[in-house]
């Protein structure tokens, strides 16, 4: 027989009391944290999620340079860059709400699952309050959804698919970069002026959400001006040799080839199209032409002389002459010895815009930041007057139509700005069919 003084009832009572005691601090903590990763110490952490490996690693590296520069400027280091020309004066160059901005980085690998994993790690382990970066729409859509669930803000980097602020838009996601619809709206009139309205186009399209929306956008915009679409052919994202896709173009009766490709796809398809003699060919009595609707300086550099005379569109270019561009290019150029790409500029602007929204809201609370960003009108960051539309979190500003320079003087002198298309021409209503479906949903403070 046992002499123990423990009774079953006593053990249960003690266990319940201990459990409640242990749970108490958690309850207090939970209620004390009003939102995910509320900064408690002297620092606030930003998460920069960019491709550091994989086919867009060079873009990612340039984005990272710009993000680091933005953090320096927010903390009052360096020359202040475009903070000096930014229309909002909420940022004083002394950190953010009394805290120093620090950052962690993640590698998206240009893969949605890897990008989600690295963003999740930065949010859960490093306490990142905002995620910025990325060079792919697939990645942007995936990370945007994750940030919505986690209750942090996603300031998208380079993402051009309509879906990012269309059917996949989220309350916590914001896009400064332009989109495929805007490319079509800006590019089509210039193409019609340069090549006429009686043209037959053949599309080669990267087979994923960005390629599909770009193809649909360019097709709609050019057909509205009288062009005929001969064929739309999807190419795998992993393709490197496009010769078997290019050969049928020559016999299709088309006189324009539209390459809805980006990155390594664009470099290879454009280079190979030129090798097939397409730029020298006369079809239907007209000079055969090639169009690359979305340009990037880094990719154009990769394609070398093949880009000469080829039209495309851009969100921004370092050759613009506004004060915001000049300040950013000077700051970036002096630090890194090369002009920034348009993916770098969009990331720089996004980091500054987030910090500014926090400063104006006087809080890191995501709902307050969202409110500060929605409908925000600003200038001086390099793209001229810009609106962050509240309905879909898409920035509206002028769009650049560019062309590969015929006689480049140096390695950065690759593209020339042909036209600065006014924002009114690329404007669309939030319920436009290409952006239909999806809801921003509610703000989610998390925790």
């Amino acid at each position: 027989m046992s002499n123990s003084k423990f009774t079953r009832r006593g053990v249960l009572r003690t266990g319940a009391a201990t459990g409640a005691g242990l749970a108490l601090p958690t309850i207090f903590t939970s209620s004390a944290a009003a939102f995910t990763n509320e900064p408690k110490g002297p620092n606030v952490v930003f998460g920069f999620n960019v491709p550091q490996t994989g086919p867009y690693a060079e873009e990612g590296l340039d984005e990272l340079r710009a993000q680091q520069l933005a953090v320096e400027h927010i903390n009052g280091e360096g020359d202040g860059g475009a903070l000096n020309t930014f229309s909002s004066k909420a940022l004083q160059g002394n950190g953010l709400l009394g805290k120093k901005v620090t950052y962690v980085t993640g590698d998206t690998q240009t893969k949605s699952d890897a990008a989600r994993a690295s963003a999740k790690s930065m949010i859960e382990k490093d306490g990142a309050i905002m995620i910025n970066g990325g060079s792919s729409s697939g990645v942007a859509v995936a990370v945007q959804a994750l940030c919505q669930e986690a209750g942090v803000i996603f300031m998208a980097g380079l993402t051009h698919a309509n879906d990012t602020t269309g059917k996949d838009k989220r309350r916590h996601g914001f896009r400064h970069f332009f989109n495929a619809y805007m490319s079509g709206a800006a590019l089509a009139p210039v193409l019609a002026k340069a090549y006429g309205t009686d043209r037959r186009a053949y599309h080669l399209t990267a087979d994923y959400n960005w390629g599909w929306t770009q193809e649909a956008s360019i097709k709609a915009a050019t057909e509205a001006l009288g062009w005929e679409t001969v064929a739309t052919v999807r190419t795998p994202l992993t393709a490197t040799d496009f010769s078997s896709y290019l050969a049928p173009v020559l016999n299709s009766g088309a006189d324009v080839l539209v390459l809805n490709h980006y990155g390594g796809n664009m470099v290879n398809s454009l280079t190979q199209a030129v090798q097939f003699g397409m730029r020298d060919k006369i079809v239907n009595g007209k000079q055969f032409e090639i169009v690359v609707p979305l340009y990037s300086e880094l990719m154009a550099e990769g394609a070398g002389s093949a880009v000469q005379g080829v039209y495309g569109s851009m969100n921004w270019n370092w050759q613009l002459s506004d004060e915001g561009t000049k300040a950013f290019v000077k700051s970036f150029g002096e630090k890194y010895g090369r002009p920034p790409s348009n993916s770098a500029q969009t990331c720089y602007a996004q980091v500054i815009l987030y910090a500014d929204a926090v400063a104006r809201a006087g809080s890191f609370h995501p709902c307050a930041v969202i409110e500060a960003l929605e409908g925000f009108e600003f200038d001086g960051l390099g793209n001229g007057p810009t609106l962050y539309r509240a309905d879909d979190h898409q920035c509206f500003k002028d769009v650049l139509v560019v062309k590969g320079k015929e006689n480049p003087k140096n390695q950065y002198d690759i593209l020339e700005i042909v036209e600065k298309t006014p924002v009114e021409q690329v404007w669309y209503e939030p319920d436009h069919p290409m952006f239909a479906g999806g809801e921003l949903g509610p703000c989610n403070p998390g925790e």
Binding site: T240, S244, Q272, Q275, S305, A306, K409
Partner: protein, 343 residues
Amino acid sequence: MDAIILQTLNGLDKGSAYALIALGLTIIFGTLGVVNFAHGALFMLGAFCAVVFNRLLSLSYITIDPTQTDFLGNPLKVETPYVIGWFGPEAGQAIIDWSVPLSILLVIPVMGLLGLAMERGLIRYFYRRPHADQILVTFGLAIVLQEIVKYFFGANPIPTPAPPAMAGGADVGMLLGFPENAIVYPVWRLFYTFFAAVVIAAVFGFLQFTTFGMVVRAGMADRETVQLLGIDINRRFAVMFAIAAIVAGLAGAMYAPINSPNYHMGMDFLVLSFVVVVVGGMGSLPGAVAAGFLLGILEAYASLDAVKQILPSIDQIIIYIVAIVILLTRPRGLMGRKGVMEE
């Protein structure tokens, strides 16, 4: 008809690359019994030899041109290649323009030494290990080589153009009686097919008509007997590894104007080349070459619009379908030897 001719030419140049890589893979497997997953990386390194050679020839001295400014408004630094200074603008520029074909001069010693170093320094320790171990170590090596290249050259493709005289298209149709410009095919791709044929013929000739080649073939057939005759077959096989590396390097260097070199290009070819080797028959050199061209041409035909209208996306899976059919009907591949990978 013109579409079929175009895709036949297309299949030949695709097949050339497949055949050259598969030939090297088969040489290594047939002699050393090693499944070399780093072979794609050797192809990539060959392409980067062309890049390096171009950069060596383009080494420049800098002068300041006060009449022009850079992107920051500073006086422009003008780079003038030394070869232009030495040989004059026309001859100097011609040397730089022809850097890809001339890069053979760099590819052969560099890839040969690299192949020897790989074999002596790493691969030989895995001869008696299971194929799974060989695959793991060579795959790991491929990743290391890739990352080294990315560290020094970045992740972006590097434009490496063909000489201007070979950069455009050739009117192949005119030769066949078609109207002008009906069938235009890139000159460099035609040259690549020709170059591949020469390299393949050279490798076969070397194995067939030299004493060294005869010993190697004997060693491939019966390694133990050759060793019993007092011949150091391992040393000869190490040389064959170097030759396989040179073949892969040459294939990569000459491919640079077709696909701008990037650190990942070897991996893009590796899986396809293994399929080629399996279809051709493990260890069979003629099989590897025949399967390379066969699969290249089939892949090109599967890209014809008429075919894709009936079987959408067939061009992306045709090679694997053929591989499955061949493995089901001829498990040793088209020309596979009995006993290879069958124990």
